[in-house]
């Protein structure tokens, strides 16, 4: 029992904190640097330690320190309790959701690289990730600011709408591989079709991938679905009144969300840690496979970032319309086709 607790703790520390918080911090740098480079700028490169700038990689650290020391401002007529808890409520769920994501293959028959080997599998992920909505909604409501309130309302209606699309897009994958356990899905994807093509989700469910990416971008509230914090009309939406570490929690939760979505996408559509033609128990193979998983996640992060800095923002009614008029019908269509094909196939 003690051993189990210790192992779980170690997983939490290494997989969770190191990977997630470090990853989220680095993503803030990636976001800034990438947007800069796309826009013909140079981007952050001034923060240095002993004259070393390392492409500006010290900026996230400097940002973190800055956030820590900023004044924690609370509006006079805010609901203090909710105002205090809302950032946590939005920060914790995406972290929790990572419990269901396997980072690498089972080693010696045990899932070392998965925090919680739960039988709920990806359903747990979907369930937990949705809780974050409350954080944003309450943050906007408790701020006593009309712009925040509008941001909060937009968040809730947008996220509820796209939750449906997201789930529908996943159902097809679950049907194809016949399981909701991430390890099993990855294992099923490592098979080859026609002897050469890996049975990755992107091959078997291409439409589902597009729908998944679109709805998950909406879930992470990024362009073109970044209405809740649409700076041009709502200042900063639900986080308008937040500052200091509380703002940092919203800020980080967005990047954790990106990581989560990318890792999720890598597991479902790109075979997770699977590298075609690579199998075995040797440590370097495992390392390669973990690396492959990270690379796939990274590629999806890149895609999301690229989208963020390419497209304009939709309007609120267009976003909701897009969700209900395009995503959900296409999701249902995908489901129907998948069901028919599967029925015929078997």
């Amino acid at each position: 029992m003690l051993e189990l607790i210790l192992i779980a703790l170690a997983k939490c520390v290494f997989l969770f904190l190191a990977f997630l918080l470090g990853g989220a911090a680095i993503l803030s740098w990636v976001e800034r640097k990438m947007s800069a480079v796309i826009q013909d700028r140079i981007g952050p490169n001034r923060a240095n330690v002993l004259g070393l700038t390392v492409f500006g990689l010290f900026h996230p650290i400097a940002d973190g320190i800055k956030m820590l020391f900023k004044e924690d401002f609370v509006p006079a007529r805010a609901d203090k309790v909710l105002f205090f808890f809302a950032p946590m409520l939005s920060f914790v769920p995406p972290l929790l959701a990572f419990m269901a994501i396997p980072f690498g293959p089972p080693i010696a028959g045990r899932e070392w690289l998965l925090v919680s080997d739960s039988q709920m599998g990806l359903l747990f992920l979907l369930a937990v990730a949705s809780i974050g909505i409350y954080g944003h909604t309450l943050a906007g409501w408790s701020s006593d600011n009309k712009f925040s309130l509008m941001g909060a309302l937009r968040t809730s209606s947008q996220l509820f709408s796209y939750e449906v699309g997201l789930t529908l897009s996943l159902l097809g994958v679950f049907m194809v591989y016949g399981t909701i356990l991430p390890q099993s899905i990855i294992a099923a994807q490592s098979e080859l079709m026609w002897g050469w093509l890996p049975r990755w989700g992107i091959v078997t469910q291409p439409l589902a991938f597009i729908l998944f990416m679109l709805s998950s971008i909406a879930e992470t509230k990024r362009a073109p679905f970044d209405l809740p914090e649409a700076d041009s009309e709502l200042v900063a939406g639900y986080s308008t009144e937040y500052s200091s570490m509380r703002f940092a929690m919203f800020f980080l939760s967005e990047f954790v969300g990106i990581l989560l979505v990318s890792a999720f996408g890598a597991v479902l559509f790109f075979g997770g840690w699977h590298v075609p033609g690579l199998s075995g128990d040797a440590w370097w193979i495992v390392a390669l496979q973990v690396g492959a998983f990270l690379a796939k996640t990274g590629a999806l992060v890149y895609l999301q970032m690229l989208v963020r800095w390419t497209v304009p923002r939709m309007r609120f009614d267009q976003v909701i319309g897009f969700g209900w008029k395009y995503l959900i019908p296409f999701g249902l269509l995908n489901l129907l086709v998948t069901a028919v094909v599967l029925a015929v196939w078997r």
């Binding site: 712009f147 073109p224 939709m314 309007r315």
Partner: protein, 399 residues
Amino acid sequence: MSHERLPMPDLTCREMLLQMGPSHPAMHGTVKLDLRLDGETIVGVDTTIGFLHRGFEKMCENSTWNQCFPYADRLNYVSPAINGVGLALAIEKLCGIEVPERTRYIRVILSEIARIQDHLTAIAAAALELGGFTAMLWAVEARDHYYYLFEDVTGARVTLSYCRVGGVRNDLTPDFREKFNRAAAITERLLVDIDKLLTRNRIFVDRMRHIGVMPAAQAIDWGFSGPCLRASGVPYDVRKDDPYLVYDRVDFDVPVGDNGDNFDRYLVRMEEIRQSLRIIRQCFDQMPEGPVNHPDWHVTHPPKSEVYGTIEGMIAQFELVFRGPLVPAGEVFQSVEGGNGELGFYIVSDGSGRPYRLHVRPPCFAIMQSLETMLMGTMVADIIPTFDSINMIGGEIDR
């Protein structure tokens, strides 16, 4: 798109009052909008201007004619070169003098560069307000190269104080044309990229088309001018309809739109940038060599060598500085095609060296008053893009 709402008899709905501005992060120029919202739909807009009032007209009445030019730069600070040209033309019309040929071309070139800057800014703002940050920065990047050009010629990037009564501060730099060609090439390349990002993108089109619609007849009634009027389909352009300087010698098209919505305004501006580049290239080909200032010392400062060395130049210099150029008594109206419409100067002289009255007709003032009409029934998210498509400039509207 219909914004009609279903009746909801069982729910008690109240309109929400929302005050946007005067220092809202997205408000370009200080203006305050008191909105009445039904959900996110706008049912009332009350616009308040005047937060940037600096008493431009009154300041001018207490300065010599030449001292007005630095103030005029601060009217439409997005395209400052045009303001100076407009004011100079008005004063010269009253004086009844013609500036040298070369100066006329220089003024056209700088005006068109300023127009390019103005339109690039408006396009950048259109993209920015829709979250298209990349397109915005590309437009701003293109604009920056023209700032370098201005710096080369006038000594400042925005606050040029370049035009004078009877001429300009100094001639173009020898490598100006070459530098302009470089900047123009960059602009054209970036315009293609912006075009790819925005023009046929459905998200962008959905956000812009049929928003902020202003039909042609109504636009004329409101006193629209410039790109906003042309977007409504009225081919009115001061450069064509009342040509000044050398606009009657260059070949260019007047772009017009169909619906008078935000999308048409964006397209008109995109096209006008290309037309402006065309005009400038023609001007370079036609421009003669020669002096840039009117030889009459009653209006233009004598050359420095004359001032330093001869009592004649010294006296003229003194009189021009403490008394001001001799502008005959009378009144005159002169308008030029500004970045966002017809920029007019109405000046009255009592024969002294200072304006007796100087009034500016800011193009966006007329357009701004129709904001309520344009916004009614649209949504909160449409306010800022529509507001931007007007290209309201605080310095100009509040004066």
